[in-house]
Amino acid sequence: SQQGEEDPQALSIQEGENATMNCSYKTSINNLQWYRQNSGRGLVHLILIRSNEREKHSGRLRVTLDTSKKSSSLLITASRAADTASYFCATDPRETYSGGGADGLTFGKGTHLIIQP
């Protein structure tokens, strides 16, 4: 089952504008990650935010995390045509580790972002 849900499912904006995508999840997490996927091929890691962090920046990316609302947002500033892709949030759905192993990430369905030149 997929824990995360991205909103909106699709977003089309003009080049130079900012793009904001949201992600909601259901269970306690250890961290939340954002990935980008171009043309249905491999995913590229963008940013990881831990459960004890509230905001993180990387270049034109800004991620926020609100664990009380179980939600995260990804902001891409000054968008470029090359930012056109699908964006996925992924949660590591466990708060603590007992040392007995690890499950995989739980991905949402993604937001398809189109940047119009």
Binding site: Q33, G40, A90, G104, G110
Partner: protein, 115 residues
């Protein structure tokens, strides 16, 4: 340095057949995970292997199996293929297991079509 490599890139099989997908992680990475991505959906976790041991398994039937070799490469096997197994199969590697807040490095995937 080479990224995560997967083979083959495309595969066409018929129902009931068996398939083996292969993955080589980034050099120095000890963990390999497999994900299935159906068109229009996000990836779904199948397996994680760390240091050649299964460390996690998603909600997939026993027709799906995997293993990791001493050189940390991995194989995903699917028996008795069904039409619903048609998907993009992604392999991802990380330095350690996910328990250490690791990010994943993905390969380009194997597109499997079951006819």
């Amino acid at each position: 340095d080479a990224g995560v490599t997967q083979s083959p890139t495309h595969l066409i099989k018929t129902r009931g057949q068996h398939v083996t997908l292969r993955c080589s992680p980034i050099s120095g990475h000890k963990s390999v995970s497999w994900y299935q991505q159906v068109l229009g959906q996000g990836p779904q976790f199948i397996f994680q292997y760390y240091e050649k041991e299964e460390r996690g398994r998603g909600n997939f039937p026993d027709r799906f199996s995997a293993r990791q070799f001493p050189n940390y490469s991995s194989e995903l096997n699917v028996n008795a293929l069904l039409l619903g197994d048609s998907a993009l199969y992604l392999c991802a590697s990380s330095r350690q297991s996910l328990a250490t807040n690791e990010k994943l490095f993905f390969g380009s995937g194997t597109q499997l079509s079951v006819l």
